[in-house]
C-alpha cells in the first residue's frame, strides 16, 4: 500500500519530468526490447511462409557452424584483443588530447586544431579503405612510389600480416580520437576553476595540476566510458575491418574478427536468419557477462564508480 502511494505521489510530483521521459522509454521499448523476441530465430530453421514464430525449432544447430569452423577461438581472441587495444589506446590518446586542448590558450588555433582532428570522423570507411589501398598497394601505391624515388626497395604491405595490427589501430585512432576527446574535454571544462586557482597560489606547475587535479577528477568519466565500451567487446568494428582488409585472406589470421567472418561465411549462402542470429546472440551473451562481472568488480573496489 505504502509503495503504490509513494509511486503515485512521485508521478504526480514530477509530472513534467515523466512526460519528457516517455519518448525515450518508447524508443527503447520499440527498438530494443520488442525485437529481443526475435532472438528465438537463433534456435530455428527459418522458413519464409511461416515467419519467425512459426518456423520449426532446431535446438543449437545454428551455432554449430561457428564453433565447428575451427576459427571460433581465433576470432574471439582477435576481436577481444583488437577491442582492448582500441579501448586502451583510444582512452589514453583521447584523454591526452582533451587535456592538451584544455591547456591551449589561443582561441583560434584551438578551434582550428579541434576541427581538423574531428574531420576524419565524418569520412566513411569506404573512402578510407580505398585511399589506404592507394597508399599501400605494391605496384603504384604512393608509399612505394616515394620509397622508389628515394632509391629504397618497395615494401609489400598487403603481404605482411604482422604490421596490420598497427595499421588498423592507427586508423582507428586517426578517425575517432577527435570525436572521443569531446566527452573528456567537456568533463575537464566542468572542473571547478577555483581548484586550479588555488593550485596556482600554492605554486603548482602545469604538470602537477594535471597530475593532481585534472586526472583524478576525470577518473569517473574514464571508468564510465570504459564500461560502456566493454559491453561491445565481442563486436568487431565491421565496416572498418571490412573496408581496410576486405577479402584479403592472406591477412585473415591477424585481422579477422567475428563480424567479418560471419559476413563472409553467410554472404555466399542464401538468406538464413538463424545462423547470423546465433552468432549475434553469442556476442551479446558474452558481452553481457563481461560487463556485469566488470561492473561487480568495480562496485566491490569502489561503489561510486559502478555503472549500476
Amino acid at each position: 500500500m505504502h509503495r503504490t502511494n509513494s509511486l503515485l505521489t512521485e508521478l504526480k510530483k514530477n509530472k513534467m519530468l515523466f512526460l519528457m521521459l516517455i519518448p525515450a522509454v518508447l524508443y527503447f521499448i520499440i527498438f530494443s526490447y520488442l525485437p529481443m523476441g526475435g532472438i528465438i530465430v537463433a534456435f530455428k530453421y527459418f522458413e519464409f511462409d511461416k515467419g519467425i514464430f512459426g518456423s520449426p525449432w532446431v535446438g543449437f544447430k545454428n551455432f554449430a557452424f561457428f564453433f565447428q569452423s575451427g576459427q571460433a577461438w581465433l576470432l574471439t581472441k582477435n576481436t577481444i584483443l583488437y577491442n582492448l587495444a582500441f579501448i586502451a589506446a583510444g582512452m589514453a590518446v583521447q584523454v591526452g588530447v582533451a587535456i592538451l586542448f584544455s591547456e591551449l590558450k589561443g582561441r583560434h588555433i584551438k578551434k582550428m586544431m579541434q576541427s581538423s582532428l574531428l574531420l576524419p570522423y565524418f569520412i566513411s570507411w569506404v573512402v578510407v579503405g580505398s585511399f589506404v589501398f592507394g597508399i599501400f598497394n605494391y605496384e603504384f601505391g604512393s608509399l612505394n612510389t616515394l620509397l622508389k624515388g628515394w632509391g629504397m626497395s618497395p615494401v609489400d604491405v598487403y603481404g605482411n600480416p604482422s604490421i596490420w595490427f598497427f595499421i588498423i589501430v592507427g586508423f582507428y585512432l586517426w578517425k575517432l580520437v577527435g570525436y572521443g576527446s569531446i566527452v573528456y574535454l567537456a568533463a575537464i571544462m566542468g572542473i571547478n576553476p577555483e581548484l586550479y586557482e588555488s593550485a596556482d597560489l600554492d605554486g603548482a606547475n602545469i604538470f602537477q595540476k594535471i597530475r593532481h587535479i585534472t586526472l583524478p577528477l576525470l577518473k569517473t568519466t574514464i571508468i564510465i566510458m570504459i564500461l560502456l565500451q566493454v559491453g561491445g567487446i565481442l563486436r568487431g568494428n565491421f565496416d572498418m575491418f571490412y573496408q581496410l582488409v576486405g577479402n584479403n585472406s592472406l591477412l585473415f589470421n591477424q585481422t579477422d574478427v567475428i563480424d567479418t567472418f560471419v559476413f563472409r561465411a553467410l554472404n555466399q549462402q542464401g538468406l538464413d536468419l538463424g545462423m547470423p542470429a546465433a552468432v549475434g546472440l553469442y556476442q551479446s551473451a558474452v558481452g553481457f557477462i563481461i560487463i556485469v562481472s566488470l561492473n561487480a568488480l568495480i562496485k566491490k573496489i569502489n561503489p561510486d564508480y559502478a555503472l549500476f
Binding site: Y45, F46, E47, F48, D49, K50, G51, K61, A64, F65, Q68, S69, G70, G129, S130, F133, F136, N137, Y138, E139, D156, Y158, G159, V245, G246, N247, N248, S249, L250, F252, F261, R264, A265, L266, Q268, Q269, G270, L271, D272, L273, M275
Partner: protein, 456 residues
C-alpha cells in the same frame, strides 16, 4: 511483380505500354517494382503479399523454395492458366522443380558455360604473340605484356576474381561441381565419368599442376602482388588501358567489345575461346526464371501474364528491348540496333526471368567471330544429367557454410598463386576441409544425386 534490377530510365513507359496490352488480353494490370539484390532476400523474409518475383539458381532459388518463399505451381494451375508453358519440353521446365514440385518457370534461353579471352590485338601484333589456342598461349600473351608494358598489369584481377581462374581450370579439364553454381566446390565430377562419381578436386594431379602454373603466373607479375585487395574490376581497368585481358562469357565479351571498339578502335580487341579442350556445359534454364509469391492472391492472372511474356512476341520484344523505332530498330540482316544512350538498354530492366531464344536478336556491332563461338559452344555441348540438380543443404548447412568459407580463405589465394609452397598449401586446405566435414558433405551429395537420378 518484383524484379531485382536498377531499372532503366524509360522502364515506366514500357510498363504503361505493357499494361495497355494486359488490360486488353487478360483484364488485369501489373505493377512492376525494381529492388536490389540485398532487398530481395529481405522482401522474401518480410512475408509481403505479391504475385510474381524473379528467381534464379544464383539467387538460391532452390533453397528459397524449400524454405517456403514461393507458391507451388501445381499441374492443374499450369495446365489451366499457362497452357503454352505446360506444353513446353520437359527439359526446359526441369530446372523449376524442387523436390518434385514446381515453384518457378525457367527462362527459354540456354546459356552455355563458355568463357572467352578478350585481348588487345594491337599488343599481340606489336610483340608478335601468336593466336591464343590454350591456357599456355594465354600465358605467352600475358608474358609479353608483363615484360614490355611497364604501366600495365597484364591480367589485373581483383579480390573476388579467384573463381575466374578456377573456372578456367574446371572448363578446360572436363570438371563440374554438382549442385553448386561454380568451381568453388571441393568436390567435383569428371564429366566423362559415366558413374558420375564425386571426387576431391584437390586429389587430382591436374589441380596441383594448375595451381603451380598460377603461382608461376603470379610470380611473373601477370597480376598485382595485391590482387587480393584490389577492388577495381577487370572490365573497368581494361577500358582504362591499365589491364590487357578480360575473361568473360560470350555476351560479356560482346559488351566489352561494343564499348571499347567505339572508344579505342586502335586497340583491335580480339576474342578467343578460353575452354579449348573438353566438352561444354550448359547452365540450368533456371539461371533465371519467374516464381509466384507464397502469399499470391492472383496466381491464375500471374500465370496468364507469364505465358504471354514468355511466348507472345509483342510482349517479349516490348519488355526485353522496348518500343520499336524509339529504343531499337532492326537492320536488314535482322540484327538489332540500339541508339546511343538508349533510355531502355537491353539487359537492364530485370527482365531476365522470361528471355526466349526465339525472340532474342543478335546485337549489331557484335564482335566478328560472335556467331562462330556461339556455334562452337553448341557443337561441343554435352548434355549433363545433373544440370538441374541442387543440393538440399538443410541437414548439413553448417558444413556447407564452413566449406565455402574455407574456399575463400585457403583455396582462392592458391588459385591466385598467393602461396609459398603449393604442396603444403594443398595439404593444409585438405586438412581444413576434412575437419569441416567434407566427407559427410560428399556422402550426402552422392546420396542425393543417386536419388535424383532415380526419380528422373
Amino acid at each position: 511483380m518484383y524484379l531485382p534490377s536498377d531499372g532503366a530510365p524509360d522502364a515506366k513507359r514500357i510498363h504503361e505500354e505493357l499494361n495497355k496490352l494486359t488490360l486488353k488480353d487478360i483484364n488485369a494490370t501489373v505493377n512492376i517494382t525494381f529492388l536490389s539484390n540485398d532487398a530481395y532476400n529481405l522482401m522474401l523474409s518480410s512475408g509481403e503479399k505479391f504475385d510474381l518475383i524473379f528467381a534464379a539458381n544464383y539467387m538460391n532459388y532452390a533453397d528459397n523454395a524449400r524454405r517456403g518463399a514461393f507458391k507451388e505451381i501445381t499441374p492443374e494451375l499450369l495446365n489451366t492458366y499457362a497452357p503454352l508453358s505446360a506444353k513446353e519440353s520437359k527439359d526446359k521446365l526441369a530446372g523449376g522443380y524442387v523436390n518434385g514440385k514446381m515453384y518457378a518457370l525457367p527462362t527459354l534461353s540456354a546459356s552455355f558455360n563458355y568463357s572467352t579471352y578478350v585481348v588487345r590485338g594491337d599488343l599481340m601484333k606489336k610483340y608478335n604473340v601468336p593466336d591464343i589456342k590454350s591456357i599456355d598461349d594465354f600465358g605467352v600473351y600475358l608474358d609479353a605484356v608483363a615484360k614490355n608494358e611497364k604501366n600495365m598489369i597484364p591480367f589485373n584481377i581483383g579480390k573476388n576474381d579467384a573463381w575466374m581462374l578456377c573456372s578456367l581450370y574446371f572448363g578446360n579439364y572436363n570438371l563440374m561441381a554438382p549442385g553448386l553454381p561454380n568451381c568453388t566446390s571441393p568436390i567435383a565430377i569428371q564429366k566423362d565419368d559415366p558413374a558420375l562419381k564425386l571426387q576431391y578436386t584437390f586429389d587430382f594431379p591436374e589441380t596441383e599442376q594448375f595451381l603451380k602454373k598460377m603461382k608461376q603466373w603470379k610470380d611473373n607479375g601477370y597480376w598485382s602482388k595485391n590482387a587480393l585487395s584490389n577492388t577495381v574490376g577487370l572490365n573497368d581497368s581494361f577500358k582504362n588501358g591499365k589491364n590487357a585481358a578480360v575473361l568473360a562469357s560470350i555476351p560479356g565479351a560482346n559488351n566489352v567489345y561494343n564499348e571499347v571498339s567505339k572508344s579505342h578502335p586502335e586497340w583491335d580487341v580480339r576474342i578467343y575461346p578460353a575452354f579449348t579442350q573438353g566438352s561444354i556445359d550448359r547452365y540450368s534454364y533456371m539461371a533465371g526464371g519467374m516464381a509466384l509469391g507464397a502469399k499470391s492472391e492472383h496466381p491464375e492472372r500471374a500465370l496468364m501474364l507469364l505465358d504471354l511474356l514468355r511466348y507472345n512476341e509483342a510482349y517479349n520484344m516490348l519488355t526485353q528491348y522496348g518500343i520499336e523505332g524509339t529504343h531499337y530498330t532492326l537492320n536488314d540482316k535482322g540484327d538489332i540496333v540500339f541508339p546511343a544512350d538508349s533510355k531502355y538498354p537491353p539487359n537492364a530492366a530485370g527482365t531476365w526471368g522470361w528471355t526466349n531464344e526465339t525472340y532474342t536478336k543478335v546485337f549489331d556491332g557484335s564482335f566478328p567471330n560472335y556467331a562462330a563461338l556461339t556455334e562452337d559452344a553448341k557443337k561441343r555441348y554435352q548434355p549433363n544429367p545433373l544440370v538441374d540438380f541442387t543440393i538440399d543443404a538443410k541437414e548439413i548447412s553448417d558444413i556447407t557454410t564452413n566449406l565455402s568459407n574455407l574456399f575463400a580463405q585457403y583455396a582462392a589465394p592458391m588459385y591466385m598463386g598467393f602461396i609459398d609452397d603449393v604442396d603444403t598449401g594443398i595439404q593444409e586446405y585438405k586438412d581444413k576441409i576434412k575437419q569441416a566435414g567434407v566427407d559427410k558433405y560428399m556422402e550426402t551429395a552422392q546420396a542425393q544425386i543417386k536419388a535424383y537420378l532415380n526419380t528422373k
